[in-house]
Symmetry: C2
Subunit: 254 residues, 2 copies
């Protein structure tokens, strides 16, 4: 079985040209075939603000209304995705930028508006990974924007960590997969201290103790989900360490 | 040899949901394999205006400065391209949206800043049509945004008619190609009267007489260029007539 790394990069890395450049240079140094999934960072919020679109929130969670969906489609699918692809081409990597609508790679279902209507948010129905495999086998690197589609002509906003986890799961039938969720931190932290390994028991303990909170929880959840679905290795690590064999927090299935 | 239609749609059709829907419905009724190239219509100008970016003009021609390039990359590569792809998927067509950076399909050279610096405008170096052929042979429809890249990590703005013409030329080595340049008019007009057929001699006559002017000139030029490069049929026609065997102004090579 061939090996494939599925690498998600998000956070402020995407909106910071120098950080993104540094990340992409380390990233292309990785020899194995790989899939990149990017978030939109703060660019979508910035553009939205400049367009006079106020972020809509319910219980501290962002709502994807029609205007926001337009901004996200522009920024994730266009600005961020195409600039990453152009940069990868300049680094000698033949990349192809895709949303979940392209080649019907990620059909999704608009989330039920009850109990909370999050708007144009998509829960993934499945990942059709045939074309991703074809690209990988032909030496082309897929670059995925965190966008799915509902099959009725609408794009949908889907979390990039979730997409990365599900792509890793789908590819695990055919490849030895490794999932890396990269961001600005060194990994899952206990105060100043990096947690280098985490299994479900430790995770529950840290969550109950309020050490692991907020945005880290869904990230770890989708990481464990990928392990359960056949992904061989999962880590949460710094974007600076993407090319290191071992780094950050490694999730362990037992 | 298989037949392929290369269809460009632009003008106000792109910014008008109802017209775009009508166009796409006729379009998908065409049985042959096809490639769609879209412009950005007025959406890019609208978004640019809302972002406070003033259109820069020299001698009545638009300049693509850095801010404008960002808007174009967002709007053409993201908003317009992904929404068309999602709509095609909903109509049962498996489409893939691409810019010229994706799969290195259209490398270009930033236009010489002398005598006029048009900014981030790309003159196409070549069309690498291998992946386009692969998609067509696998029943997938490529949807191309009018964006190229310079190989140094920058996206470039390239005229959609030009891209359509060059894609038709590149595919002519392998397919029986037909190029259709679609917009809101019925074709090349002489006042109220449609010119149904035009060869180079008639073109020169109409141009000299001031009947054919402005934006129509480069459109006809790239049309004749496509004929010269092996494209079997070229027409300039209404987006409403995309599925008709004969319509609009047909260009004739003699």
């Amino acid at each position: 079985m061939r090996s494939v790394k599925i690498i998600k990069v998000g956070g402020k890395v995407i909106g910071d040209d120098q950080k993104l450049d540094r990340f992409l240079r380390s990233f292309v140094a990785i020899k194995e075939p790989k899939v990149l999934i990017h978030g939109g960072g703060s660019i979508a919020s910035d553009i939205g603000k400049r367009l006079g679109i106020k972020p809509k929130m319910i219980d501290g969670r962002r709502i994807t209304d029609s205007e926001t969906l337009e901004v996200i489609t522009m920024v994730y699918g266009g600005l961020v995705n195409k600039n990453i692809v152009a940069k990868l081409q300049s680094l000698g990597v033949n990349a192809v930028g895709l949303s979940g609508a392209d080649l019907n790679i990620i059909p999704a279902k608009k989330r039920n508006p009850e109990p909370v209507d999050f708007g144009w948010v998509g829960d993934v129905e499945q990942v059709n990974s045939e074309w991703i495999s074809t690209f990988l086998n032909e030496g082309v690197m897929p670059v995925l924007a965190p966008l799915t589609h509902d099959g009725n002509g609408n794009m949908l906003n889907t979390n990039a960590d979730t997409i990365a986890s599900l792509v890793a799961s789908a590819l695990s039938a055919e490849f030895n997969t490794e999932l890396m969720l990269c961001f600005e931190q060194s990994g899952v932290m206990n105060g100043e201290k990096l947690i280098t390994e985490m299994n479900r028991l430790l995770y529950r303990y840290l969550k109950d103790g309020g050490i692991v909170t907020d945005g880290m929880i869904p990230k770890i959840d989708v990481g464990f989900q990928a392990l359960k679905n056949g992904t061989k290795k999962v880590s949460i690590r710094s974007f600076e360490d993407v090319a290191k064999p071992k780094s950050g927090t490694t999730l362990i299935s037992n």
